[in-house]
Amino acid sequence: MRYTTFNQTNVNPLGEPMFFGNSVNVARYDQQRHPIFEKLIEKQLSFFWRPEEVDVSRDRVDFQSMTDSEKHIFISNLQYQTLLDSVQGRSPNIAFLPIVSLPELETWIETWSFSETIHSRSYTHILRNIFTDPGSIFDDIVTNEHIRKRATDISKYYDDLIFYVQLLQVHGVGDIEIDGEVHDVSIRNLKRKLYLCMNSVNALEAIRFYVSFACTFAFAEREVMEGSSKIIRLIARDENLHVTSTQHIINLWQHGDDDPEMKEVAEECREEAFNIFVSAVEQEKEWASYLFENGSMIGLNKEILCQYVEYIANLRMQAIGFEPHYKQISNPLPWMNKYLVSDNVQVAPQESEISSYLVGQIDSEVSAGDFGDFDL
């Protein structure tokens, strides 16, 4: 089962499943088994932005006047987001590309992961403006126990899938013994690992960012750190698109619209997938306690932030076919929505921060009616 970068067997990509079919050969988008991924690529490309386009120079002054507990909240969140995007900037590529079988999905994964690298670069952009030398902030990410604890949970499903795919590529299917431990390298078991990994990624994109988003937008509500908030708003818009893609993948499996075996796997792993989601929610609540350990900030405290996590978790769980698990059914932070609206409103064109101006969003659909008033 060696991976080949150009599979020379003639396969019909319209008959392939999303994963574990024949590896992709021609990167063609004229026909698609799942057109949604092509649409997501177009949407993501239309969202393209660069951190340098957003002016964050005022944030330095704002930061100086923040209390110590507020500084702790702001910096810890940036560190955590840096971790999340470090993982997401590489892992979808490493974990999913070797097993993907559809050209449109392959390109979506690359586009998705690339946009996460822009997020990572924007954290450096924000921190460089606040500190003369942001080195210690980055160094702390791998030593801070609160961040490390969550890093383990975020990366373990990826790491497990990657390891088993490597075994499959080198040894093929079978029971494989490595360092005295026997690994069940069967396609069924790998599909199970893929399903759990996708659920863990979905939970990451769906809720893990939101504690941090809420804090940043709460600062923006008080008109502090507005440059950073503009950047985080662009990131939130991207993440909302990414979660759409993981929800699509999970739903396509669950409803048997892709690989029929994945439908069985989805049923088998339902409880485990549910637990992945619930434990992500619990970790985010723990993170909220850590953020507010030195005191809260105006407009936000631990309780209301935990309620928001539960509220958003309910929405996200329903999207992948679970019953809402938490009692928080109304939005405790209604002002959050104003920052999550995808900004498609035309504002003054000189405002380079307004994302709709960064790229011409061209509508290439032409209907016969558009020629109605043409005379020849």
């Binding site: 759409t244 929800q247 739903n251 929405l315 609206v341």
Partner: protein, 87 residues
């Protein structure tokens, strides 16, 4: 032909919304005082996802978020008839 459709959300009192394409169902319901969940308002995040109990809608923009049979995204559709919605 009447120029409004009657819409009921979550067994709340029925509201009337204007027909036509000037407002999405989400905007029309907000104008009528019904509060729905939303994030992106452009059909990709799925936060406004609702179940259509009866009636029909037309999409102004194709939704990107996953919608199961019987579900609608009010932020990118308009009413085509009287509606009953669970949100």
């Amino acid at each position: 032909m009447s120029s409004t459709y009657k819409v009921q959300v979550n067994k709340l009192p029925v509201v009337e919304i204007a027909t036509g394409q000037s407002k999405t169902l989400l905007q029309a319901l907000e104008a009528a005082g019904v509060v729905l969940e939303y994030h992106c308002r452009t059909g990709f995040c799925g936060a406004c996802r609702s179940t259509l109990k009866s009636g029909a809608v037309d999409y102004l923009n194709e939704p990107l978020a996953y919608i199961r049979p019987g579900e609608i995204l009010p932020c990118v559709c308009i009413a085509k008839s009287d509606l009953v919605i669970d949100h």
